[in-house]
């Protein structure tokens, strides 16, 4: 039995309605408890800001796509090199670091739970292998279904239950956590050199439109009672004028779940563009934010862009090809058999570039214009908008109008005519930031019940203590201190033990992989469905029995079983 007592913590725990109370936190055997004995190890938080461990609901840290980003950019490995030290392995890389690099840097920022945003089911093993070398965070992975042939056929046939059955089988086979749709229909069309424009036109071979795919999968997701909603990367990413398409997509979504959103729209910054081309490119964050404000069934994440070098990687292959044609730099493209595809290119977001400056502004606007911080989460879609190590700067930008003005003065001078940002006075407070970086993320992912994102007794003892005194800091003025504090915790506590102390990781760590297993009736068990088996035999390069990820790929893991309505 191990016990710990965190004394004098200035706690903000939004899920339990605690907003700035100085209290003690008791921990026994990795869980928060009411009280511990006198022999407990004591940590004095000295009234510093103490939050539940950070949750990142959309990042790309593990898997074939991320690894290919590493292959492609050996120059990135020359940045961010740290030597082996104590319990820490040597790391390298900036936008796509090694797995240990990701884990240590996240831990130093107080993050304890991460969701890999897109895992091609056929290549799931690689993701799970890398998860075992991301030791300081609990991990989970969204499985991609945007171009899955079995799903597309079932959508065409209007058979929502069969869609749900395929999703259930694949998720439990590949130990995935939730459904990810990336440019639904578009990535399959890209296999034939095509793309989709918006959501109404059907794609070839299947004769289903993105709108039908999205609506059916959203319904199927609820039939399965999955903890997380559908995780959608809308169509037409990054195209001027795409906000109409995004609005149309949001309009499709019914309110189906009382506990959480029905749709998680990711990196909405990339989907809030106005104009008819790059010359009249402008921000349409206002209509998008209004739409989100009106529709409680939708939660979004920012996909904030920060200036500097990074690597973009997505299952949206056609989008990356368009981006490649703009930049004329390196480009990689990949097709995953019957399931999905992907593309990767390195990019440099520049302050002097008008389009990049507008993109930078849109992400901030979304966070400031969506009234309810519970429905706009803080991400960069790491590393697409920027590497996650830039989160502290984003937090400071959201908390300080003065910082935003200083930054606005350094970007392309025409930016202010194209974005509403200069007119926005809102400054988020500590509670809003705690919501956007942990509580709301845990709620959106549906992992509050398994003890993430809050500090009530029974929760996982994941705690981050930041070296900043809330009562002595005015974030709108002292934004530099805010950046420093959120860059490096005083203590990061994971499952009841200190894993990171002032940026130095002090244990080897042992993560948990969280996955879901929807229970379906035998007639909806796709593992025994003759058509489904035939599809494997005929088209896949692997046999059906070789497809599921074996248990040895999951060391410590937590399976969430759901009762499906099938």
């Amino acid at each position: 039995m191990s016990e710990m007592l965190i004394k004098n913590a200035f706690v903000i725990d939004p899920l339990n309605g605690i907003n700035g109370e100085v209290m003690d936190i008791a921990i026994r055997d990795g869980k928060i408890v009411e009280a511990v004995g006198d022999a407990a190890e004591v940590i004095d938080a000295r009234r510093n800001l103490t939050l539940p461990g950070g949750v990142d609901s959309h990042t790309h840290i593990c898997g074939t796509k991320v690894n290919f980003g590493r292959y492609m950019s050996p120059e990135d490995m020359r940045a961010g090199r740290t030597p082996r030290r104590g319990h820490m392995h040597a790391t390298s890389g900036y936008s796509v670091p090694t797995t240990y690099g990701n884990s240590y840097r996240y831990s130093a920022m107080g993050y304890t739970t991460l969701l890999e945003g897109a895992m091609a089911p056929l290549e799931a093993r690689h993701t799970h292998e890398e998860f075992s070398y991301t030791p300081l965070q609990d991990t989970m992975a969204n499985a991609l279904f945007d171009g899955n042939w079995s799903v597309l056929e079932a959508v065409r046939d209007g058979d929502t239950k069969r869609v749900a059955a395929v999703i259930a089988w694949v998720l439990s086979a590949v130990k995935g956590f939730a459904v990810k749709l990336t440019n639904p229909g578009g990535t399959e069309a890209w296999g034939w050199g095509e793309n989709v424009d918006c959501i109404q036109k059907p794609i070839a071979n299947f004769e289903v439109s993105p709108a039908e795919i999205i609506r059916t999968i959203v319904e199927a997701n609820e039939l399965l009672h999955l903890p997380h909603s559908v995780h959608l990367h809308c169509n037409n990413l990054g195209k001027p004028g795409n906000y109409t398409c995004t609005m149309g997509t949001f309009g499709l979504i019914p309110d189906l779940n009382k506990k959480r959103q029905t749709l998680y729209a990711t990196h909405v910054q990339y989907h809030a563009y106005g104009g008819s081309g790059w010359n009249d490119f402008c921000s349409k964050s206002e209509p998008i934010a209004n739409m989100v404000n009106m529709r409680p069934q939708i939660a979004i994440d920012m996909g904030q862009v920060m200036f500097g070098k990074t690597t973009t990687m997505t299952a949206d292959g056609p989008m990356e090809f368009n981006l490649y044609r703009l930049h004329h730099d390196k480009w990689s493209n990949h097709d995953v058999e019957l399931e999905t595809g992907s593309g990767i290119i390195p990019v440099l977001y520049r302050r002097k570039n008008l389009v990049n400056s507008v993109m930078w502004a849109i992400g901030l606007e979304l966070a400031l214009l969506v009234d309810d911080p519970w429905r706009c989460l803080l991400t960069t879609d790491n590393p697409n908008g920027a590497p996650f190590v830039r989160y502290p700067e984003i937090i400071a930008l959201l908390m300080s109008k003065r910082y935003r003005e200083e930054e606005l003065a350094t970007v392309h001078p025409d930016t202010e005519h194209r974005v509403p940002l200069p007119a926005i006075d809102r400054e988020l407070d500590w509670h809003d930031i705690a919501v956007m970086t942990r509580a709301a993320q845990a709620k959106a992912l549906g992992i509050v019940d398994i003890g993430k994102g809050h500090l009530a007794p029974g929760a996982d003892a994941d705690v981050a203590i930041y070296p900043i005194r809330v009562d002595e800091t005015d974030p709108s003025v002292d934004y530099r201190r805010v950046i420093d504090a959120f860059s490096r915790t005083e203590y990061t506590i994971k499952r009841g033990r200190v894993v990171c102390r002032s940026g130095e990781c002090v244990v080897d760590g042992n993560n948990t992989t969280i996955w879901v297993k929807p229970k379906v009736s035998p007639e909806y068990d796709m593992g025994k469905d003759p058509d489904f088996i035939r599809k494997f035999d005929r088209y896949y390069t692997v046999r059906m029995r070789n497809y599921p990820v074996q248990d040895e790929y999951l060391k410590r893991n937590l399976c969430i079983e759901t009762e499906a309505e099938l």
């Binding site: 950019s73 050996p74 120059e75 990135d76 004329h328 730099d329």
Partner: protein
């Protein structure tokens, strides 16, 4: 003037490389203890070299380093050199003069790979041959050498001046395959022959005084021109990369 003389002591296993990025003039000016690496072992400088220091200096510019003995497996000498002079009597190992921004390196013998990689300024003179990736960039990088001068009196290996983005490279002998590949700007002169020069070049000038074997078909022929009274043929390209570089060759052959 400070004159540092380093004579390599006989080594039991002379093939084991030694990493000696500390051998630059400013190290000796500071007077601190100097260590080099052999594998994962850090050794004091005088375990590898007999060190003699004569005179004193206040400025890095006044320091000269003379290195003699079997230096063919000693790497990274002159890395980040910014001023002063290094003279190497014999051959030198890989990565000599990486990132140097000023000063001079003279090599009496041959240089191994990556001589003057990503050089920013200064001068390197190699009296023997240089191996692959002379005056080049590094894996994945978009910019190689951006300034300074590299002059090789012998031949060079493949990928000479890859990603050249400034400065001058002169080779008196032959160059290998893919000389000047991905060149952006700067000037590359090859007195001898080479093959497939300047693939994907975007800008800059490359002159081949010998024969360009296997000329790439993606260079548009401009026509005859003269350099120092001799007839040459001028090309522009690489048009496959929308490039506007100048490739001027004495003679050329396309692949059969």
């Amino acid at each position: 003037m400070m004159r540092v003389t380093l004579a390599v002591k006989p080594r039991k296993k002379p093939l084991l490389p030694i990493e000696a990025e500390c051998i630059v003039p400013k190290t000796f000016l500071s007077g601190e203890a100097v260590y080099v690496w052999r594998g994962n072992k850090e050794l004091p400088l005088d375990e590898v070299f007999s060190v003699t220091i004569e005179g004193t200096a206040d400025r890095t510019e006044d320091v000269e380093i003379f290195i003699s003995g079997d230096t063919s497996r000693i790497k990274r000498i002159g890395e980040y050199l910014d001023a002063g002079r290094i003279v190497i009597e014999g051959d030198i190992g890989m990565h000599c003069g990486n990132f140097m921004s000023g000063g001079t390196i003279e090599i009496g013998g041959d240089a191994d790979g990556w001589l003057g990689r990503e050089m920013r300024g200064g001068t390197i003179i190699c009296r023997g041959n240089a191996a692959d990736y002379c005056a080049a960039g590094y894996r994945g990088g978009r910019k190689g050498m951006t300034g300074g001068k590299v002059e090789v009196f012998g031949n060079t290996g493949d990928f000479l001046a890859e990603h050249l983005a400034g400065g001058t490279v002169i080779v008196h002998g032959d160059a290998g395959d893919m000389a000047g590949i991905e060149m952006h700007s700067g000037s590359l002169t090859i007195e001898g022959s080479c093959s497939r020069p300047c693939g994907n070049m975007a800008g800059g000038t490359c002159v081949v005084h010998g024969t360009a074997h296997e000329m790439l078909p993606t260079f548009r022929k401009i026509g005859p021109t003269t350099l120092e009274g001799m007839p040459f043929t001028s090309f522009t390209g690489d048009i496959a990369n929308r490039g506007k570089g100048n490739l001027i060759v004495r003679d050329y052959t396309y692949m059969d």
